[in-house]
Amino acid sequence: MSLVPFDPVLAVLIVPLVAAGVLALLPGYRLTARLNVLASLVTLLSALALFVVARPAPNAYFVVDDLNIVFIVLNTFVAFTTSLFSASYIAHELETGRLSTANLRFYHAMYQVMMLGMNLAFLSNNIGLMWVAVEVATLTTVMMVGIYRTHEALEAAWKYFILGSVGIALALFGTILVYMAAQPAVGEGLDAMTWTLLLRHATALDPSLINLAFIFLLLGYGTKVGLVPMHAWLPDAHAEGPTPISAVLSGLLLNVALYAVLRFKLLLAATPGAFAPGALMMTLGLLSLLFAAFMLYRRRDIKRLFAYSSIEHMGIIVFAFGLGGSLANFAGLLHMVMHSLTKSAIFYSVGHIAQVKGTQKLSEIRGLTVSHPVLGWTLVIGVIAIVGAPPFGMFMSEFLLVSTTFARAPLLAVLLVFGLLVAFGALLLRLTGMAFGEPSGSRAPATASHAPTFAHLALVLIAGIYLPPALVVWFQHVASQLG
């Protein structure tokens, strides 16, 4: 259909790489912002091409299958909308002087490198390459979290770096163990690290080594997912970094790490002798859900509030995959997509709210639906969507998850519902405080780009009522594989 053999997989990787190179050289914020949006748009289009073009055969380094095709498109779409939001957000930050063009010099380059890392992580067929991609994404986000150079930002970045790197190191050790387990069956070199071959020979893998490897991988990538004992970096990284980065962190990076855990769970499900990781994942999931739910009550900073809400939702998703069964897995996958769309939409409006009100303190933000109707109501709709109320998409995933859990493990379902209710109480309490009542602070109209937020919420609303059959088939196929 086109002259040059257009391979979307390569395009999705090359475009951010080239863009990063170009953006690193260009000074001046206005031009780089537009270029950044353009690059993200091109990446999105090439990712969308994956739907149209026949799927390329998996080679040594890249693979496109039912699991990652949806997440690549989601990743590039949210990256594109975040770039739009970041353009207007950073422009405002420059005006108010919180950021200078000096320390913004590498911002867009870092942004594109992060995109490269994430896309590579999704596309890579090689577990080692995936590890490197996640490491690259982590390092770039560490730099961006510390961009404001305030005391808190540096402390948050340093904490994020140390905890992230330890986590990633554990993940590397897990990857090496998987390689060791695969070596006798699949042979040495690249083959022992490529997913497709590992899956094909899964029956021959050494089960005991795979179990040990999964523990390291779950702890390693779990740190990047933000599961409770390893979550400490997440709230501060969200609160102190610029809001586009919080949106990317919550929306995409958590998904990337979770995708990695899913890949290895696929492997584990295929290995007969391996012990079921369900119990461990369910405990970590419930622990995160309950811990985050209770921590929501004492939060005083709006972005830290939604960071803990991300931990809570990651807990729900990991619990869903831990429970297993086609319905719960389907619910988990759906929840991942819905959470990233809704949470990034919430962070877009939170970003604008923090700018307009000049503060991130919950106590100083009141009466949004009166002072800034559009921002206020998008926040209300966002929070209603995130707590899993119909007619938004999260309701379907929570419906499936809670009903199957109650049918199979009633006590766990009661715990799950208790966690959800406690979290809902906290979010609703803060939302009522922020969105309603007498407005406080400045009432200057917000010069904000609402397009990304509306796009996300519209998608979530549609998904709540009608899911495209293609997506359903893919997810059901993966859900049955996940075991």
Binding site: L139, A157, F161, Y179, L190
Partner: protein
């Protein structure tokens, strides 16, 4: 030949664990960095020896990178950072030295028990390397957990990374591109650490993690 080669590899790996213990024992920063350089050299030797035994020429590249960066560049950079930032010299520990040593021994025993139990199938060389790598990894973590100042945490982290490189070389036939990119990313990590240490120094005028902790977000 096989027995002797195994013993020498065993010697190097054991030596790495011993140097990790020495790292735990240091109480002055400059001495700590020198012991880290020693740690890196033992790693390089072990990798070189693995290359010789497995007849895998690309491992020499990893050994070379290890020597160039980890034995020379990183310790020198750390020394300059200490001198330039005027960081006070002692290493404050959060947990008593005796207790840390005991914990270290326990960790080594645990890693040996776990790895040897889990890898009956693999060849003896790989099993040993993995066991010792896990030990070095856990000791690195122990060091990060029990030290107060930032530089000693960084050294702990780098020794942890060395354990990983040992594990990677132990796994016969680990593809070169992964080796290279793993070591490469560790180097980038170190660059980021350097930048941060300067920024922290510029803002906090001390690199003591204690001062850093006072600025935890959303304080009570």
């Amino acid at each position: 030949m096989d027995g002797l080669a195994l013993d020498i590899a065993h010697l190097f790996a054991g030596g790495l664990v011993l140097v990790s213990f020495m790292l735990l024992y240091q109480d002055r920063l400059s001495a700590l960095i020198n012991v880290y350089a020693l740690h890196a050299t033992v790693l390089a030797l072990s990798v070189a020896w693995q290359a010789y035994i497995q007849g895998a020429p690309e491992l020499y590249v990893t050994a070379g990178i290890a020597i160039v960066f980890k034995v020379v560049v990183i310790p020198v950079a750390l020394h300059r950072i200490i001198r330039q930032l005027g960081i006070h010299r002692e290493v404050e520990t959060a947990v008593g030295m005796g207790l840390t040593m005991l914990a270290g021994i326990g960790l080594v025993a645990l890693s040996l028990a776990v790895m040897l139990q889990f890898t009956p199938g693999a060849n003896p060389l790989a099993r040993e390397d993995l066991a010792f790598a896990l030990a070095v990894l856990l000791l690195g973590l122990l060091m990060m957990v029990t030290r107060r100042n930032a530089v000693s945490q960084v050294v702990g982290f780098m020794s942890l990374e060395n354990g990983l490189v040992l594990a990677a070389t132990g796994a016969k036939g680990m593809p070169l591109v992964v080796e290279i990119s793993v070591t490469f990313s560790i180097i980038i990590a170190f660059i980021v650490i350097g930048i941060f240490l300067f920024r922290i120094r510029e803002r906090f005028d001390t690199v003591d993690v204690q001062a850093l902790d006072d600025f935890r977000g959303d304080r009570r």
